[in-house]
Symmetry: C2
Amino acid sequence: MTALLPPSNRALDVLCIGNAIVDVLAHTDDSFLDDHAMVKGSMQITDPDRARTIYAAMPSAVEMSGGSAANTAAGLASLGISAAFIGKVAEDDLGDVFAHDIRAAGVAFHGFAASGTDAAAGTARCLICVTPDAQRTMNTSLGVAGQLTSEDVDLALVPTARVVYLEGYLWDEPAAKSALRNVMGWAAEAGTRVAFSLSDGFCVDRHRSEFLEIVEHHVDILFANEDEICSLYEVSDFDEAARRVAGHCAIACLTRGEAGSVIISSSGERFDIPVVAADLVDTTGAGDLYAAGFLSGWVSGADLETSGRIASIVAAEAISHMGARPQTNLTTLVKGAL
Amino acid sequence: MTALLPPSNRALDVLCIGNAIVDVLAHTDDSFLDDHAMVKGSMQITDPDRARTIYAAMPSAVEMSGGSAANTAAGLASLGISAAFIGKVAEDDLGDVFAHDIRAAGVAFHGFAASGTDAAAGTARCLICVTPDAQRTMNTSLGVAGQLTSEDVDLALVPTARVVYLEGYLWDEPAAKSALRNVMGWAAEAGTRVAFSLSDGFCVDRHRSEFLEIVEHHVDILFANEDEICSLYEVSDFDEAARRVAGHCAIACLTRGEAGSVIISSSGERFDIPVVAADLVDTTGAGDLYAAGFLSGWVSGADLETSGRIASIVAAEAISHMGARPQTNLTTLVKGAL
């Protein structure tokens, strides 16, 4: 099998689709997670009542735009890659914040601003507890982001993009899931490559059989961390999971925290990419920005190993500050560090 | 004249009254200030249309609770001093953020959540441009904060406090001004000390004659930077301004940026306080936290010089990160640094 290449001559490099979320970040200790029955490192969907309880107990916080695929889109734009984002916000303060920040990052925002009664649920917010080990634990109150439907997803954008990037979190929302099935259908038709993130170990648990089908039949480039890929194949050995995924999609980018990452292609290549040293402050967005870094290299024609090295450089920036969005120009950063 | 002392045996150490604001902070270059006719280092009241224009042009931002007197209250609480805050927010996302953060900081929040048509103006937001020299330039859209009236200010709190702390910014709002006149009257009656911040050079320009009358007849402890105190007395020489203010209020704390600060008492003392070294990131809140540091010492019985040294330690923390609110426990910080 020859190496997968992205199509050329498209208006857009990467079309990202995901939950449009504003993050609310605070430092907490580990006992705060225990007191509120949170599993460290995970993302839990949280109903509005529970979200209110958690927020009331949280220390002073800062608000920053987030959302997994949206963070990837912002990273891509900072890397000079043309990116668009589809997600749903309400016409409220946090909706303004999200729309402002993603546009300011240079991303074309095709978010549907729900209004009237549809907007009652409000813009999604994610309450993020950052523990002293810099690990982030997330509680998402989905609001209108959880109401993404086929109507909100302009399929005509798919053939204009070289790659569509979808977050696994969207599988928690039945209407969004069917919209993304349509996107994958159009992508196959148009030769647009499909990139997919497994998002979260619990998310994989909830949707394993569907994710297995998607990875096997629709995904060209898979992003997952060790926990997620092992969960997908229900194995405890990372190398076994890596072998399995190599038979299923053209490229798999598997992150392993401090142990770096592994990039595997279906043509038999394997590259072990070391991490880039950084002051570890907050891991929020590390995986999202890793994906941005990899895709930026890959759509620009870099080989898999170089793309992986760019991913590591970009992920190191993400973990060196609070919040998921880049706080420096990533193009300049990568140029200096590569 | 004997040194002024705060009254003892009160439920509350410091009652702060000011605009309840959420800050929207972004890094910009100097040309951004020029393009939008901003004066570096100043605070401008901005109508909603202009605020929208500025925000649309600003880079990706972060949102954090702010407000001058509110920042001081949060600093006081972090220093173990009992503090309350009066200010006005709307029942919207940013109002939630403000109320959450000030309560989470340990401050009793007596904010009036405006609802119905009164809330249409929304919670105040301050668009803050942080330039590469770490200077902050502020554009405030006052929203409901600008509608603070006597009804919102519970005068019964005044005799329960040892000190009331008022921000000069409130003089831009006629109804708030009359509420604060009442506060000063009750404070005089109850022996509650009145601390006052001149807030901003342009603010002093707008209200010079009133500020002179207030400083001369109602203020016990004045906080001002060099620019503001020189503007108040319309002199260009700092020492001349310092001499003038010494005849007008019991204690004046005058900050001079990198040159440190000067504390002057009406009994003839003068202490020159050096700055505490810090990585300069963002000066937002430096003056507010300086005031928190000084008052924390003074209400605890420290002498003026020690109170000034605490102020410098706390101000150094404020300028070492984006945003005005403390990001570390100030009690621990001061204990280690004093």
